[in-house]
């Protein structure tokens, strides 16, 4: 949502100070699909992912008065979703483990695009998509967070517990893959 100048901080303030329901709804529309997808990549159940993301949003409203204490709300919500999902997964498997990046099922917003929109999805985009799908989950996830969630390296680093260097390298692998698809397609013509 790069062109979208929706200011999360502004929404955060409207919810915290004015108990603004419209702001809450806007925040939901802006972040819910991303949070749900992120939960799904860990828990791999659509129903549970929707519940986890919904619960996080319920907490946002319940704790609205202290919402201004959070510096980076988006990252905070992503981390909350990560923790809730890992906790749920551990409960089910009866063990205590962290996040397994290479077992994640990464989903892209484009997977859920408007049907009308996906019909105009061009050939190169389709090729890029399937090329990205061939990358290891860790690499896919970093690409997704950087591209679709517009997250900075330091946020991704905190969310996934990886070094900035790793993120830079992994993202470069994804970009290299995309560039090679683009090059191949252009030469074909």
């Amino acid at each position: 949502m790069k062109e979208n100048n929706l200011n999360i901080q502004d929404l955060q303030q409207r919810i915290a100070v004015y108990e603004d329901e419209t702001a809450y709804k806007q925040l939901f529309f802006h972040l819910f699909p991303s949070l749900q997808n992120f939960a799904y990549s860990i828990i791999k159940s659509r129903e549970q992912a929707e519940e986890i993301a919904s619960d996080i949003f319920i907490t946002v409203w319940m704790k609205r008065s202290s919402l201004m204490n959070i510096d980076n709300l988006k990252l905070y919500l992503f981390i909350s979703v990560r923790n809730a999902s890992v906790k749920k997964l551990n409960q089910e498997k009866k063990k205590t483990e962290g996040l397994f990046l290479d077992e994640m099922a990464v989903e892209f917003i484009s997977d859920y695009a408007n049907p009308e929109e996906s019909m105009v999805f061009n050939e190169i985009e389709r090729k890029i998509k399937s090329a990205i799908r061939e990358l290891p989950p860790r690499c896919q996830l970093i690409y997704k967070l950087a591209k679709e969630e517009n997250m900075r390296y330091k946020d991704i680093s905190q969310l996934l517990d990886l070094s900035i260097k790793t993120i830079d390298n992994q993202l470069a692998i994804a970009i290299k893959k995309i560039a090679s698809v683009v090059k191949f397609e252009k030469e074909k013509r």
Binding site: F32, E47, I58, A113, E116, K147, R152, Y153, L171, A172
Partner: protein
Amino acid sequence: MLNERLNTLLTRKLSGEATETEIRELQSFIDQTPEVEPIVNTVIGHWNNEHSSDQEFLEATYLIHLERMKTKGVGFHPGEHSSEPVNKNSGIKRIFKISGVLALPVILILFLGIRIISPKSHTKSEQITESGNNEISTRNGSRSKIQLPDGSVVWLNAGSKLEYDKSFGNTIREVNLTGEAFFDVVKNPAKPFIVNTSSARVKVLGTAFNVRCYPEDKKIETSLIRGSVEVTLNKRPEEKWILKPNEKLVLLNDYIAPEVKEKITVKKLHNEPVIAIKRLTYQPGESIAVEAAWTYNKLSFEDESFLEVANKMARWYDVNFIFKNKELEDLMLHGSFTTETISQAMEALQYSFKFKYEIKEKEVTIY
């Protein structure tokens, strides 16, 4: 392939991590090797390409979230959802509001669920059950038209049942369907329309689509005419299927009623995937898809086996088919009937290929 350094610089530019020096370095790289420019531009274009999420589904998801919030005792206005006396004026306002959106009717076609095993003796029965649910059903060989409280119109095909709660339309519009139905749904983004069936749950806001899952048929089909629709199979709730217009989701019917199970499982489909997305079928010169033709009083079939056609005809004419010659079951047929009687229809079928039949009251024997 891009040079390593160029690739690193491009990565940092895209992720917003590039320093000013790196941006300048990237630019001079491109200036020196102009052949990489179209590639770099396409990659940048891809990076900035966005897919907006489906607003209507988000709206529906948000309402479901608000419902969850309420059940957990968290509401926007504390005490709002405790027993509130119904204000007559607000009720009238609400009716006006609903009739305002009536101007945007959306066709929603559904064939769903399970056929009622014991047909009722009258064409249509409407009753209110003890729990306060409304229940409407039809017997084989007849179809009927009903209007729901929100103004949506439903045509019920033969041997079908539609149920809805007394709270229908309060927050969401939810119905349970067994059999086949055609929905003409009043579009109301604030109240998503949900159809529950024995094997799938369909979430829509404004769309035209068609689901068929008779237990005696081999396949379950969800066909989308326009808009967007989300289908979740009850047995695989973790997966959701989103269809594009003019596509249908076909899956092998794994829900088979006990009394027909034996008959069906003997016949295995050859090389058919368990789940596949296919195009809708149109007969030459027709603008209505075969999948929705029944709503125009037309019994249509295109490349369907005689057995499948016989199942359709059995519901349409309220008859039973018996295949003495099993080889005939797999013959592929196409055609359509409108005003033909069962005898005329059987005669017409005989033009396509040779077979013998006998109609005795409500039983058609093929041999």
